[in-house]
Symmetry: C2
Subunit: 305 residues, 2 copies
């Protein structure tokens, strides 16, 4: 039951030789969801051998270039490779306009369907749903309209305890209800509670991706109990004034949110180019939230168990 996050890039606005702008792949049951697509993301996909054709949904947090300037290039590469499977892009207003203008300028009619979903950056709402997963927006506090994303598993079916079907003579048409949590009443009037018939499902796992943003209290409730939180930490806390001015967070603030929201694990990223070494950011966060890790390119984080 794969659920993991691969970091493709985690630097802030100015790319460095070895630190690329933001992009991540969320792998849920081997379906790939991209979050942000900074310049050079295509090459990062190749570098880390991510199968780009598994990506059908691309979520863009906001329209600062370091979060989306690689998008149209990726869409063009899909086109040149003859992709036929649809791509859906979720973003703020203007993303569709910009992308379509670029396609128009290159006189490109894509070989595959491209859909846009424009979200309201002020709302916490579901923007994607399938049988196993839903994705919700998380309003951020940044200099332009910005949303993070919450990837939340749906409650899974229970697994039947080995042998009970035969032991109690349960008919197949009753199994589906038991897997959803029901007990079973036999024709002879004996009632078997659900706990005697099925293993409880694994609790749904959650991944919350919060970037770019100043520390934003309303986020706490939305991400409470997440198995994994990515939160931007552009600066160390000695530069908190700059962080607040630019509506970014410090490593301490990211850790504080992680602690208040009782998440299991924190990844920090979106580092300012001023930091040659990232350890000061990590050490600062770990004082407040020991389960903090650096988003380094190519690293993979499991979500939950």
């Amino acid at each position: 039951m794969n659920f993991s996050v691969t970091i493709l890039g985690s630097n802030s606005a100015t790319p460095l030789l070895d630190r690329h702008p933001t992009s991540q792949i969320v792998n849920h049951l081997n379906r790939y969801f991209m979050v942000d697509c900074g310049e050079g993301t295509q090459v990062q996909l190749a570098r880390f051998k991510v199968k780009m054709n598994r990506i059908n949904h691309i979520f863009i947090t906001h329209l600062h270039g370091d979060h989306y300037f690689g998008l149209t290039g990726l869409l063009m590469t899909y086109h040149l490779f003859g992709r036929q499977v649809p791509v859906t892009v979720y973003g703020p207003r203007m993303l569709e306009e910009i992308t379509l203008l670029q396609l128009k300028a290159s006189k490109t009619t894509l070989a595959y369907p491209l859909h846009f979903v424009t979200y309201d950056p002020d709302l916490h709402q579901m923007i994607y749903e399938d049988d196993f997963l839903e994705v919700l927006t998380i309003p951020m506090n940044h200099s332009i309209p910005t949303c993070g994303f919450l990837f939340r598993e749906k409650l899974r079916e229970q697994n039947m305890i080995d042998g009970v079907i035969e032991k109690y003579g349960i008919p197949w048409d009753a199994v589906s209800a038991i897997k959803k949590g029901d007990g079973y009443l036999s024709p002879s009037g004996i009632y078997y509670p659900n706990r005697d018939l099925a293993h409880p499902p694994a609790p749904p796992r959650m991944y919350a991706c919060c970037s770019d943003t100043a520390l934003h209290e309303p986020v706490t409730d939305i991400i409470r109990g997440a198995d994994l939180l990515y939160h931007e930490a552009t600066f160390t806390h000695d530069r908190v004034a700059v962080a607040h001015e630019k509506l970014h967070s410090t490593a301490f603030e990211a850790a504080l949110l992680a602690r208040q929201a009782r998440v299991s694990k924190l990844i920090i990223g979106h580092y300012s180019a001023r930091y040659d070494k990232l350890e000061p950011l990590l050490h600062e966060a770990r004082i407040t939230f020991p389960e903090t890790y650096l988003a380094t390119e190519g690293s993979v984080f499991e979500v939950g168990r």
Copy 2:
């Protein structure tokens, strides 16, 4: 008297791990002119230690993404670094619209003046001029409006032969005319022809950059005698049908043009991602034009002497 071309990227539409999309730096007397700015160009500038603040003029050949998707990112980095010196971008219609839309979406008011010059892709005309250099468009034959660029030095002043000023008692106010090619008539009526007074100037050097294009005969006259020609060679000639369909050139065709236009040296580039090794392209071109070289990233080519 620097005049050179640095290749930052020379692959065609799909970037590879070690081959980036198109960008070049033309260095003329330590003023840097950029031609095209594909995705990842900023990082290539850093990789090859090109002083990005020396770039004041950026020429975009056409609006296929592999030639300009790095532009707004570069302009944003200048902004974040507090640049104040103006930047002028030369491109086809719609480049300004796209760039300004991206800046608007990020609510950016640049810290420096940004000028756009829209050229007519059907005309061979001068779009840039200073005391030492002029840049002219070269209409290409591609699937969307496209121009190459001709960087042409102006005729330089002659240098006075050592000692003649004192020997013939030439007054300072006559020197300027002599440097422009005049002779000198002394007060006593003796005429000294220019050849006895000054060294002839070095002939003006020319660099022609032709991409993307199918082989296009009218280019021959424009680039005739160029010291250096960059010409796209997306395919080997066994794929000439694909090349013609996509309005690209083969290595043989690039070499043929170089020979017909009597240029001194040819660089080929804009390689299709299908070529793992580039030697077949080079060998094919050299049969027709021995002075052919591969545009590899980081390589520097001198223009002329």
